[in-house]
């Protein structure tokens, strides 16, 4: 538009202003404080500067590749980055609404120090220097009096944890943790035991970059899957893996059948050919019945019964032992239903799915190839015995020949790019430390002071955050390794972008732990620091609050579970808002403060001398990328030796600008750097391949392992193999059985297949049948877009009804506006939320159950569990859930931080599912809270 036209346009508008005003004035009524005047608007509309920056999202842990429009220095619109094949230019409502997180009125604007009691939410505004000095003084004193291991660094999100971990590992604590511990550890267990992996996803990321017969690299958009089964997995609404939205529906149109197993009719189920509304907590039962059926009916000479691809045995160890142990259950009789284990009839009694449907499912899965069996977060990870689901699920994918085949399943953890390298500070784990234990000096490694791995949770390789409250209250006594017998208290809890009070197991237990005082009246946990962009409930319990720069104001790397190595840059899009600092800034500031106080472990050469600026840190973290072997079909780099590790930019590898090290079996091109990524649309993409096993397997034998602790003697040398072997060695040495497995009657981690029942399930576990009459409902929670702990304040999202879990059935609320800050008092502005205008967390209940209880949608009810804990919420009586099951959004209700925006004002009428979690029902191997194992009764309020 020319200047002349602009002028004309504006003058015309001025002319029309008079006419427009009366209508507008009437429409606006008594609207809010600030609006733009016409003059201001005209000024602002002049010559906007526009640029686009490629970056990575953190609105949810999908971390999609983004392209952000920046006008006059303000982020104005968010698009998907079309060059990142993971999301291929797409973004969901949450990704698109990031502006309302970045510019949220309730962001933490400046550092604060608590002035009231913990939980009261009274703070004073302080400078960064004061806040950092406060933390550094406390840490220095705690380290001196109790040892650095008394400090927990919990980065909440996995995302961008590295700077914090580096600092605290250098400080001397091994107790650095992240979100994984309270995410879904049982779900990861099977892949870890069988493959050394973690995350099984269907082969539906499109495009994938494949080497062509003519040597070129091309994008393949074709779908090969014929069957996709999602058990307790809802990618459309939880959006953890972006490509599973378009991938699932496109694979379906390309001929795949979709089966969704879920107690609730999820949005993913809405697209399924078949929805199987299973009883919560019985996924292992269903999977076991499927495996038994397949083993009993497999017939290699009958094409209609050729379920198993027996060639898997050549690439495996321990199948016979696994099968023998599995079959040993077939003759046993279930104490509740008196049927033999794993038969379809037995599974029918437990799962509530008709036996013939179970056999049909088993047959369909066995006969249809390629197929993907995928189990999810809430359905597997949030149950006490979810390990069994993931172990059987993984075994099924391997024996049916669906692992890493086109259209089958991929362990994305094993094929994603490496990142982090030395920048993570993991070398500090190996640092030699000395402690006096029972009067004797003991030497060991820093890692051996870990409160979980050498304490009560030996196999909790992702830590046991759900059990932190107990340790905060009772302290730590190491049970394993050289320091066993060493005791220490938890004196500092540094929480960054997490919200343990709402999500880290039972809310009340966390509140108890963070506010417990010793005999002198001091808080047991001497220092609680909260570092984040939004102000969530855990911040109310902090002594110091630090504003962290949002994802658009900092750098780092993303590569969330693609089918092959792809890494994209999180880049600085806008200037830091308010007084926030980046994780890098905070690391350096705190490192300098500790160094100044004489901390011998914090060395300038490890921090500010090494990293002059933020990009230096990420340059080091990228140096290892992609770090994956040149294996599979088609071979990613046929010009280089197969099996060698690939490092460097795709460009340099393609052009042959590499060094080949035959000794290290490494092909090294030019290192990927943040600058290289910026110059290449923010992303590096290396080729995909299939049939990448055994090259990518991270098991001790480089084979599929169905055994997890065994010994082999070769050349007179006896070696021990299997994922459990190192833990069992510790237990044998110490004689201390971890309490989680002791509760199951185990002395060690089992060498192969195992079975135990979930807790708080009256249908499968005889210990709980007594509760069935009085507490007839099972409660589960699920994640939906805006019910996640940290994004509920987004106004745009708050209007959407989602999956019958967050629904606009609010009553009218009038309130005095409160904004987060040192003085969160009323600002004298009255606000009103009209009835039925805001989606609030509700209790999804079968309409048949509601009818029986005389309830209707909108009625307020109280849920009470057998432990006497309660929560309240409104009923949403619908057809979309299995009778006998109540579902709530995870972290969706009872939100009592004013940082939650409008949701704060509905805290008393929205349910907090985690008030009902049994903090003692922590899953026995990896210490994961059993969020979805609970029984309740319902009372109308």
């Amino acid at each position: 538009m020319t200047d002349a036209m602009t002028e004309k346009k504006l003058s015309r508008r001025n002319f029309l202003k008079v006419g427009g005003l009366s209508a507008v004035g009437a429409a606006m009524g008594g609207a809010g404080f600030r609006a733009i005047s016409l003059d201001e608007a005209q000024r602002l509309a002049q010559a906007p500067s526009v640029k686009y920056t490629y970056t990575a999202d953190v609105m949810c842990p999908a971390e999609c590749g983004l392209m952000v429009k920046v006008e006059n220095g303000v982020a104005s619109a968010i698009y998907g980055n079309p060059h990142v094949p993971y999301n291929a230019g797409t973004i969901c409502s949450k990704g698109a609404s990031g502006l309302q997180m970045v510019y949220n009125p309730n962001r933490i604007k400046y550092p604060m120090i608590r002035v009231g009691e913990r939980g009261e939410g009274k703070f004073k505004r302080v400078s960064w220097d004061e806040a950092i000095a406060y933390i550094a003084d406390k840490l220095t004193a705690i380290k001196k009096n109790y040892g650095p291991e008394s400090v927990i660094m919990d980065t909440g999100d996995v995302t961008d944890k590295d700077t914090y971990w580096r600092l605290f590992l250098a400080f001397g604590t091994p107790n650095c943790t992240e979100h994984g511990a309270i995410c879904d550890t049982p779900r990861r267990h099977g892949p870890r035991l069988l493959l050394g992996g973690k995350r099984i996803e269907p082969d539906i990321m499109r495009p994938v970059l494949l080497r062509q017969p003519d040597g070129t690299l091309k994008n393949d958009y074709s779908y090969r899957s014929k069957l996709i089964i999602y058990a307790g997995w809802n990618p459309f609404t939880a959006t953890r893996i972006n490509y599973e939205s378009r991938g699932t529906v496109e694979a379906k149109l390309a001929g795949a059948k979709l089966i969704v197993i879920d107690p609730a009719f999820s949005n993913t189920a809405a697209k399924a050919d078949q929805w199987i509304p299973i009883r919560p907590g019985t996924d292992p039962d269903l999977f076991a019945a499927v495996l038994r059926y397949i083993l009993e009916h497999d017939n290699p000479s009958d094409p209609s019964r050729r379920y198993i691809d027996w060639s898997f045995k050549d690439k495996s160890v321990g199948w016979d032992e696994f099968e023998t142990e599995f079959r040993s259950w077939w003759k046993k009789v279930d104490p509740i239903n008196k049927l033999n284990y794993f038969t379809p009839e037995w599974a029918e009694q437990r799962t509530g799915i008709a036996a013939e449907k179970i056999t049909e499912l088993a047959h369909t899965y066995g006969i249809t190839k390629p197929a993907a069996l995928v189990w999810g977060m809430a359905g597997t990870g949030h149950h006490y015995n979810g390990y069994i689901t993931s172990i059987i699920g993984m075994a099924l994918n391997v024996i049916t020949g669906n692992f890493d085949v086109p259209g089958g399943v991929i362990d994305t953890e094993l094929v994603r790019s490496d990142k982090g390298g030395k920048a993570t500070g993991k070398d500090f784990f190996k640092r030699e430390v000395k402690r006096t234990v029972n009067g004797a000096e003991v030497v060991g490694e820093q890692e051996q002071l870990h409160m979980d791995l050498f304490g009560n949770w030996v196999a909790a390789w992702d830590d046991a955050v759900g059990d932190y409250p107990r340790r905060m209250l009772d302290g730590v006594t190491l049970q394993q390794g050289p320091f066993r017998g060493h005791t220490y208290p938890v004196k500092a809890y540094i929480l960054r972008t997490g919200n343990s009070v709402i999500t880290g197991s039972a809310t009340w237990k966390w509140q108890e732990a963070l506010t417990a005082k010793d005999k002198l009246g001091n808080y047991k946990v001497d220092l609680v620091a909260y570092i984040d962009t939004p102000f969530l409930e855990s911040g109310l319990y902090a002594d110091v609050v630090l504003p962290e720069a949002s994802y658009m104001e900092r750098m780092s790397l993303s590569d969330v579970y693609p089918s092959h190595p792809v890494i994209w840059l999180r880049d600085v899009v806008i200037e830091k808002q308010f007084e926030s600092k980046t994780p890098f800034d905070i690391m350096i500031a705190l490192a300098k403060a500790l160094h100044k106080r004489g901390d011998p472990d914090i060395k300038p050469k490890d921090f500010w001398e090494k990293y002059k600026e933020e990009a230096d840190f990420w340059t080091e973290a990228l140096a290892v990328a992609p770090g994956k072997p040149n294996v599979g079909v088609p071979l990613p780099y046929p010009q280089y030796p197969a099996g060698y590790k690939i490092i460097g930019t795709p460009e340099s590898l393609e052009a042959g600008r590499v060094k080949i090290d035959d000794e290290k079996k490494e092909i090294k091109g030019e290192p990927v750097t943040p600058q290289w990524l910026r110059e290449h649309h923010g992303v590096a993409v290396w080729p995909m391949a299939y049939f990448r096993d055994p090259g990518i397997l991270k098991t001790s034998s480089k084979k599929f392992e169905f055994q997890w602790d065994w010994t082999e003697t070769k050349d007179n040398k006896t070696s021990r193999y299997g994922q459990y072997s190192k833990y069992n060695k510790l237990i044998e040495e110490s004689g201390n059985v971890p309490p989680g497995i002791a509760k199951l009657g185990w002395k060690k981690y089992p060498p192969t297949f195992f079975w135990f029942e979930t807790m708080w399930n009256s249908h499968t576990n005889p210990d709980y049948t007594q509760y069935q009459a009085k507490y007839p409902f099972q409660v589960i929670s699920s994640r939906v877009h805006h019910s996640m702990s940290g994004t509920q304040m987004i106004d745009w999202l708050g209007h959407f009804p989602v999956e019958d879990l967050t629904m606009p059935i609010n009553d009218e609320v009038a309130y005095d506006e409160i904004l987060v800050g040192a003085d969160p008092a009323s600002r004298g502005r009255k606000r009103r939320i009209p009835a039925n205008s805001w989606s609030i967390a509700v209790i999804q209940m079968s309409s048949a159950d509601a009818l029986q209880l005389g309830l209707k949608t909108g009625d307020l009810v109280e849920l009470e569990n057998p432990l006497g804990h309660k929560t309240r919420g409104k009923v949403n009586a619908v057809e979309t859930i299995r009778p006998g099951v109540l579902r709530m959004p995870f972290g969706g209700g009872g939100r009592f931080s004013p940082g939650l925006g409008k949701n704060f004002y509905f805290k008393d009428v929205t349910p907090n599912a985690n008030q009902l979690v049994d903090p003692a029902a922590i899953s026995p191997i990896m210490g994961m809270p059993g969020y979805n194992d609970m029984l309740v009764k319902v009372t109308k309020v």
Binding site: G20, A23, A31, I36, V74, I78, T90, P277
Partner: protein, 303 residues
């Protein structure tokens, strides 16, 4: 009531109405139809991007590897779009195809549209409706995105007393914010409820605190840079989806189409038999909303 001919005349773009002329037409629609569409006082920006000038300001195509076979859907649609831009405007026929089998209900399009067009609180050009049917366990749910249907026979344009809204030659129904008086007739006339009234809200009216930084920026609807202010258009006007004309004319797909998580939304030239959208609507599973009303919508749904 105006005759059909008169209605058509009213829907013709930008007759040279002065303020006085407008009053006249408001008073007597019959005469309004006789005003000749000549002597344009200014170029109407809702008609910008003259024919055959594609390639001048086009944003480059994404730099992604060649596909093994065919063309990647987004690249193909962008190429279709650019091919259409080469033609005179009156030979283009922009249509949208929404595959309901692929919409996953993420609502990404709704918000992508809000940020693209800097829509104020309360206005959504492209909501997604959810329908659930049946009794447990036989239930179904579908998601229905609802942009403006860009009807070939739009009931909304003829009711406009000031000729502030009309169907462009390429089939997109536009609103001239500077002419719109906010009477709301078109809002009532639209059988799809695709038009909303801009009440002039800012986020501070709902979220508290002051203006959000992104509210101080120009929107680019119809290729005009405007900052939303309480005392100027489009506040007090009717607003609706316009297929992101300002993007189309740069060779870009509408914001809803690029964001779509299920790749359920397609956009292109319905007059081009080689376009992806033409291919998609040549299938038996195609339908349109409220077809029986004779509005001839240009948004097609696949079931």
């Amino acid at each position: 009531m105006a005759t059909n001919e008169e209605k058509d005349a009213l829907t013709k773009p930008d007759t040279p109405l002065s303020r006085r002329g407008f009053m006249g037409s408001f008073a007597s629609a019959t005469f309004a139809g006789l005003v000749a569409p000549t002597m344009l006082a200014e170029v109407n920006l809702a008609q910008a991007a003259p024919a055959g000038q594609a390639g001048n300001d086009l944003v480059p195509l994404p730099d992604v590897p060649e596909p093994v076979a065919g063309q990647a859907p987004v690249i193909r649609m962008m190429r279709d779009l650019r091919r259409a831009l080469e033609k005179p405007m009156n030979q283009r026929r922009w249509i949208m195809v929404i595959d309901l089998r692929k919409c996953t209900g993420c609502m990404g399009c709704t918000i992508a549209c809000v940020t693209e067009n800097k829509l104020p609180p309360g206005i959504f050009y492209r909501p997604v409706f959810t329908e659930t049917h049946g009794k447990f366990p036989n239930v179904s749910r579908r998601f229905i995105p609802r942009p403006c249907m860009q009807c070939d026979k739009p009931p909304c344009t003829s009711v406009c007393p000031v000729r502030a809204t009309w169907k462009r030659e390429d089939g997109i129904t536009v609103i001239d914010y500077d002419k719109c008086i906010g009477c709301g007739y078109c809002i009532t006339a639209c059988p799809y409820s695709a038009r909303s009234f801009d009440k002039g809200y800012f986020s501070s009216d709902f979220e508290g605190d002051g203006l959000q930084p992104y509210e101080t920026l120009s929107a680019h609807e119809y290729g005009v840079d405007r900052v939303q202010s309480r005392d100027s258009s489009p506040v007090g006007n009717a607003r609706k989806c316009h297929f992101c004309i300002h993007r189309i004319e740069k060779g870009l797909l509408p914001a809803c189409t690029v964001s779509c998580m299920g790749r359920a939304t397609f956009f292109g030239d319905g007059n081009d038999p080689k376009s992806l959208v033409s291919e998609l609507i040549g299938k038996p599973n195609v339908m349109r909303l409220k077809n029986e009303m004779g509005t001839e919508p240009k948004v097609y749904y696949l079931e």
